[in-house]
Symmetry: C2
């Protein structure tokens, strides 16, 4: 029952499933649920459409697995980094937490994209996304906003969405930003500049 000996076949199985999942994250984040096709995911994963059904049953379940994967990254990263924050004064601690959040938004623009894609219409995917992932994410960030940044409770939704938007949009529309402003938001210097700018915006 427990994780037995890892056979070559099991490793192969995991590797294939993994390739499909990574391709799904990429494709859904780029084209949204409706704009993506399971055939394209298969092509990007260097396999065929039949295997997607074999591992994930349906497009809907593939999408949920991709969303799970996207949010996994946030939880582990933020928990680790925020725990290790230098314990200087409160305001500087809050700023560094926000800088870390911006760095995450730069590394994983997929989270913001899926949030904007699915947040527009009240349907099953939105309900699932809110209940399964957005709620704990919101609780954690809103708690920090009140405790560390001193935001009034009534303002929390405003601060949450203002922070998420200010931190993430630049990276979510990277190609557009390059053409519009000349700035490449993938550049490490641009990420740090944005991190500091947003941190000082919310915690002056």
């Amino acid at each position: 029952m427990s994780p037995g000996p890892t056979t070559a076949r099991q490793r192969q199985r995991e590797a294939t499933r993994e390739r499909i999942l990574e391709a799904a994250v990429e494709t859904f984040a780029e084209k949204g649920f409706l704009g993506s096709s399971t055939r394209e995911v298969a092509r990007r994963a260097d396999t065929n459409q039949g295997l997607i059904t074999y591992y994930f049953r349906s497009k809907e379940e593939l999408w949920r697995a991709a969303a799970d994967r996207i949010f996994e990254g946030l939880e582990t990263r933020l928990a680790k980094r925020l725990g290790a924050l230098e314990a200087t004064d409160r305001r500087e601690r809050a700023r560094e937490a926000i800088r870390e959040y911006v760095r995450f938004a730069a590394a994983q623009p997929e989270l913001f994209r899926i949030m904007v894609d699915e947040g527009r219409v009240a349907d099953d995917r939105m309900n699932w996304l809110v209940d399964a992932h957005l709620r704990p994410y919101f609780e954690a960030i809103s708690g920090a906003l009140m405790d560390v940044a001193g935001i009034d409770e009534a303002l929390v939704p405003h601060a949450f969405y203002a922070l998420a938007g200010a931190a993430s949009l630049l990276f979510a529309v990277g190609p557009e930003c390059r053409r519009l402003t000349g700035l490449d938001p993938r550049a490490p210097a641009a990420i740090e500049t944005h991190a500091d700018y947003v941190a000082r915006l919310l915690v002056p």
Copy 2:
């Protein structure tokens, strides 16, 4: 040549074209270009797919007409309101400009949605959107950010995307926000609270 007598048939023509265009704005903003079908646009406009081809030739051109329509709203509204601003001190003037921008984002979440949808991948639609609409929009706002809010030129792309994201995300994902936080961002009080919050964020 010049606008002659408006016959009943011309009025009918304009009305039909208008219904299709409004339905297209709605559909594209909700589902993106790839996720939308011309059949659904026709259904929402209470007509048939053939008429879309008749008036707009292709899905691509329908999308461009819808984008034109979305940006029309911004230009007329901002030009009018910003010109009529009470000439108090500079900082309060900057705040009121930002408040007005937030009110626009609340009334027209379609602009933000199309920007996020099309900004992810460097393709023809993105190039057209940047050159036809985003460039003048960016010039106007970045000019104001430097002149009125005193933002350094190197920071302008960061301030632009931070402002756009902070101002718009709440309204772009309204249904999600309602389920996640209980706040309905369509409520006039919520709009004003957000407007003031974002204005004081950027101009303390």
